[in-house]
Amino acid sequence: MKKTELAIGDSTELLVSYHSGIAPGRVNKYATISYEDTTTHTQRITLHAQVVPKVDTTFKVELSPSTLDFSVIKGEKPKEKKLYLKNEDKEKYNVSLVDYPKEYFKISLGKNLKPGKSMKVKVKPKKNLPEEGLKRSLTLELEGEEKTKITVPLVYNTAATTSQKK
């Protein structure tokens, strides 16, 4: 969080990290935000995720890879990566990007994913990725008969040598 005090009308970002763990299934996590007035006030925010195996055969849109790793050896520039969506279903999906770290990445994708077809999502790192590394994520929403979100982790590290690159 960038500020711990806000003037009237002012706002600040709160970056929340959520670790999905190993156990598959629906996982809910909470964060409590407190502030001081004449007493201490607290408010809660909630994060949900449906944790699935890395090779997920339960959903009819195949996603690969499940994580995008932009890590490089120190001195190298991180390169654009691609995410592929393949529609194994009989219905068409409208695809939209609902959340991503605008400060660090530029993303382009198509709008529709027809039955049997594939779509490419291009994720291009900007020049300001921090040297100390980064863990962020992007969230896509697929709208067919129902809406389904998919979140893809974005990882960036700089390593001194190839053996240290993860």
Binding site: I33, S34, Q43
Partner: protein, 67 residues
């Protein structure tokens, strides 16, 4: 007379309430719930919430706790 007393009591209560609300900070969020949807195991996901002071005084001592 009774009506006058009732009016005075209600006015006093309203005035007291207004005083207690004056100059108080109030927090508001861009959203209170975020759903990541389907995500792989052993991953770190992130989301930015925006916090805004929609009250009438400075919001101080903001802190965040996670279990």
């Amino acid at each position: 007379m009774k009506l006058k007393s009732l009016f005075l009591i209600v006015s006093f209560l309203f005035f007291s309430f207004s005083l207690s609300q004056a100059g108080a900070p109030k927090i508001d969020f861009s959203e209170r719930v975020w759903d990541f949807g389907r995500t792989p195991q052993k991953s770190t996901l992130t989301h930015i919430f925006w916090i805004k002071n929609v009250g009438s005084d400075t919001l101080k001592g903001i802190s965040v706790k996670t279990p």
